[in-house]
């Protein structure tokens, strides 16, 4: 029993490869940060557009959200990395190629913007319509109402859900090794080929992810704490 556990967990092995693994982790972190930025920006645009009184706009936004929400991230990644460049090459008549990193950021960004646009929409819808009517009756424009009345309240309500989605996004960054981004999973698989010891390496990778994600969640919650508990209501 003890021997089995010892075989599954071997800190010394990780210490030996600390630099390689750290480089891998930084890849995960940078893809996470960049795709989170893409996802959040797109989510706001799409989420707000879905509530537009203009049918064409809200319909397009809904179609976008549904498409990316219901397509597996892995398929998206592969499509963007392998298929999209081929299409673009034909379209512009010039060789187009994405780096694995760029394809990963775009793929995860659009995939999660679909989920998050739903959160943005729900957050905005949760603000009582009377508040908007009061603002309209005073002559405020739609944009001012969003900026000053509905969004500030909605964002506060969205935060817990957005943090959950960011955690999912971070976990999803592990699939980028499949399009040869050199993240932790990629490094671990390389090392395990060299060392022939997959058990402690993959177990260790799981532990690293878990620790990093718990730490990141705590950090996000601490960062947003002040915002979530402001004086009103």
């Amino acid at each position: 029993m003890f021997a089995v556990l010892q075989g599954a967990f071997d800190p010394a092995l990780f210490w030996e490869y600390r630099v390689t693994l750290l480089i891998g982790l930084l890849q995960n972190l940078s893809i996470f940060a960049e795709s989170a930025a893409v996802a959040i920006i797109l989510a706001f645009i799409v989420g707000i557009a879905r509530l537009s009184p203009r049918r064409a706009l809200s319909w397009t936004a809904t179609a976008y959200a549904e498409f990316f929400r219901n397509t597996p991230e892995y398929v998206l990644l592969v499509w963007i990395y392998f298929v999209l460049p081929l299409l673009l090459t034909k379209l512009v008549g010039m060789q187009v190629k994405f780096s694995p990193h760029l394809a990963a950021v775009i793929g995860l960004g659009v995939a999660y913007s679909g989920f998050m646009s739903e959160t943005v929409r729900a957050g905005l819808r949760s603000i009582p319509g009377g508040q908007t009517e009061a603002a309209q009756s005073l002559g405020l424009s739609s944009l001012t109402i969003l900026r000053r009345i509905t969004l500030p309240q909605a964002i506060r309500r969205m935060l817990p859900e957005v943090i959950n989605q960011l955690v999912s996004l971070f976990k999803a960054t592990t699939i980028v090794s499949l399009i040869s981004v050199q993240d932790i999973m990629y490094q671990v698989s390389m090392i395990s080929v060299a060392e022939m010891r997959p058990v402690p390496l993959y177990t260790g990778a799981a532990l690293i992810y878990c620790v990093v994600i718990i730490a990141a969640t705590q950090a996000l919650q601490a960062l947003t704490q002040r915002w979530r508990t402001r004086g009103w209501a």
Binding site: Q131, A135, L138, G139, L140, S142, T144, Q153, A233
Partner: protein
């Protein structure tokens, strides 16, 4: 009323206003003129169209047809030449018209993430581009008018319903509207809180504010209004001074409504 040519131009003129929700026609041709400085109470049973009428005036509901002229400016359907389909009024025109009509809602509709003063100064700053300092002075002036200056830094959730409604009145007044529209402003308040809101409305009337008041408060309507309009099934059924409408209504429906409402 004499139909002379030398009448003062009404501040609000509504001609043949219709509004349907789907197949249900809620307003069936309302024509009404409100003189500057008049207090007009709109009464009627639930579903008679009084709230819809008020909400059409500032385009919170789009009228299906008809003409609304506020202080000489026509908005909406009638703006097109005869025989041509009316152009949709631009959102800028609607916003400009709305800022001349102050509206007070049954549910107060204060913005909970802003302080009391923040609620009052928001529209002057955002719509009129008033400098913050000036807006704050103006805001305090109107908060003092509704007796809530001491609450200026509180958030709305800390206030009673009556206080919230008075803030909502101050917020509407801060835009210096030409007309104040009250949509059942006391209907969601306890009786003791109703009094303090009605008191503020009485003050406004004394100051000469033009007011259009949709209300169930028959006492207020009788004491404060210059004129009572009784709506029934989307039409003006009775229109006259309080004494006439309450004591000698011409329409049988109005007589029934008044006698049951006054108890």
């Amino acid at each position: 009323m004499e139909s002379g040519l030398n009448q003062i131009r009404p501040i609000i003129q509504v001609n043949d206003l219709h509004k349907s929700f789907g197949t249900q026609e809620v307003l069936r041709g309302i024509t009404l003129a409100v003189e500057s400085g008049a207090v007009v109470s709109v009464i009627g049973a639930s579903g008679s169209g009084k709230s819809t009428f008020l909400r059409c005036l500032n385009y919170l509901e789009r009228p299906s047809s008809g003409e609304i002229i506020v202080d000489g400016e026509t908005i909406g359907a009638s703006a097109a030449a005869p025989g041509r389909r009316a152009a949709e009024p631009s959102s800028r025109d609607i916003a400009r018209m709305r800022s001349t009509l102050g509206m007070v809602f049954q549910q107060f509709n204060l913005w909970p993430h802003m302080t009391v003063l923040g609620n009052v100064i928001e529209a002057p700053i955002q719509v009129k581009r008033m400098p913050r300092r000036e807006a704050e002075d103006l805001g305090r002036q109107f908060l003092a008018k509704v007796n809530l200056l001491d609450k200026q830094n509180e958030y709305p959730a800390k206030l009673s319903g009556g206080q919230q409604q008075r803030v909502a009145i101050a917020r509407a007044l801060a835009m210096r509207p030409k007309v104040m529209l009250f949509d059942e402003a006391t209907s969601s308040l306890d009786p003791e809180l109703t009094t303090e809101v009605l008191e503020v409305m009485r003050d406004l009337a004394r100051d000469g504010m033009t007011m259009l008041v949709v209300t169930h408060e028959m006492g207020f309507a009788r004491d404060v209004s210059d004129r009572i309009v009784f709506l029934h099934a989307g039409r003006v059924e009775e229109d006259g001074c309080p004494a006439q409408v309450f004591n000698a209504p011409l329409s049988e429906r109005c007589r029934q409504f008044v006698s049951s409402a006054l108890g």
